[in-house]
């Protein structure tokens, strides 16, 4: 692979994908607050980046009510996992070349 993934390349989106792909595909996803704390992003910033990832089909967003409270959970899709793995391989290849 010779090109970075333009969607994942942005630092906040890279952290989001790192966090979501660290979970197994059969595990429950991460909620918004947890993702915010892991990425160090603000509410608005994280929301915009999640939209971007969701539009690319890299992230699946599930909205549900838990104990009468709305809860938004994010998971990496199979497409997102593959794209993230390719992007990380690309970054490693840059280091390996030097």
């Amino acid at each position: 692979m010779d090109e970075p993934d333009d969607v994942i390349h942005q630092p906040v989106r890279l952290r989001v994908m790192a966090a979501l792909t660290a979970l197994g595909s059969d595990e429950e996803g991460l909620d918004f607050a947890r993702l915010k704390s892991l990425t160090g992003a603000t509410d608005g910033n994280l929301g915009a980046h999640l939209d971007h990832l969701a539009r690319a089909g890299y992230v699946e967003v599930t909205k549900a009510f838990v104990a009468k409270r709305p809860r938004t959970t994010m998971k990496a899709s199979a497409k997102g996992r593959a794209a993230f793995a390719r992007h990380v391989a690309f970054l490693r290849s840059i280091i390996a070349r030097t």
């Binding site: 630092p11 790192a18 966090a19 970054l91 840059i94 070349r97």
Partner: protein
């Protein structure tokens, strides 16, 4: 788009930091429920010992068995369907109780007050060690609660059983809630 080698290294370091935090958070969250459970078990057990020392004093182990069964059930529920029964945890419990029995009854022959201090500090020693591998929160719990138990042993007088109930019961519950948010 051109990415320099140092930028790529920084991005990969960022990725590794986030992955490590997710893994630690997962460990803390699965441990937190067990720690809260043990807070409830310890609180109930020590209050029962305070209320009926003759009956519950020698039978505290039966109440602990509820905690062991609950821990195994919680870990089994939290695991993926493909994973097996948590035999290692069961073995760890068996080793701790066997070691504790050898030194408290077989060789040490501790008095009731010493036993009350010995058993929780034995398990808290395990927490302090676990923290070296699984996250500092475990060590903090182990060391802080051990210090409080020793303080109660030396200075709480006749109220030691209730001190234990308060320290280990509410201590574990608070620590578990703290770990859930970590």
């Amino acid at each position: 788009m051109t990415i320099r080698s140092d930028e790529a290294a920084a991005m990969l370091a960022d990725v590794e930091t986030v992955v490590a935090r997710v893994k630690q958070s997962r460990i803390y969250r699965s441990a937190a429920l067990c720690i809260i459970l043990w807070g409830v078990v310890d609180l109930v057990r020590d209050i029962l010992i305070a209320v009926g020392p003759r009956w519950f004093g020698p039978r505290w182990f039966l109440i602990d068995l509820i905690g062991v069964a609950g821990t195994l059930a919680l870990l089994r529920n939290g695991a993926s369907p493909a994973s097996r029964f948590p035999f290692r945890i069961l073995a760890a419990f068996a080793l701790f109780y066997a070691f504790g029995w050898i030194w408290s009854d077989l060789l040490g022959q501790l008095g009731p007050r010493e036993e009350m201090a010995f058993w929780p500090t034995l398990f808290l020693f395990g927490y302090a060690l676990a923290g070296l591998w699984f996250g500092a929160a475990f060590s903090v719990i182990g060391l802080v609660l051990t210090a409080l138990i020793l303080a109660g042993y030396f200075w709480s007088g006749e109220a030691f059983v209730l001190w234990q109930a308060f320290v280990t019961g509410f201590g574990f519950m608070l620590c578990g809630l703290w770990m859930r948010r970590a």
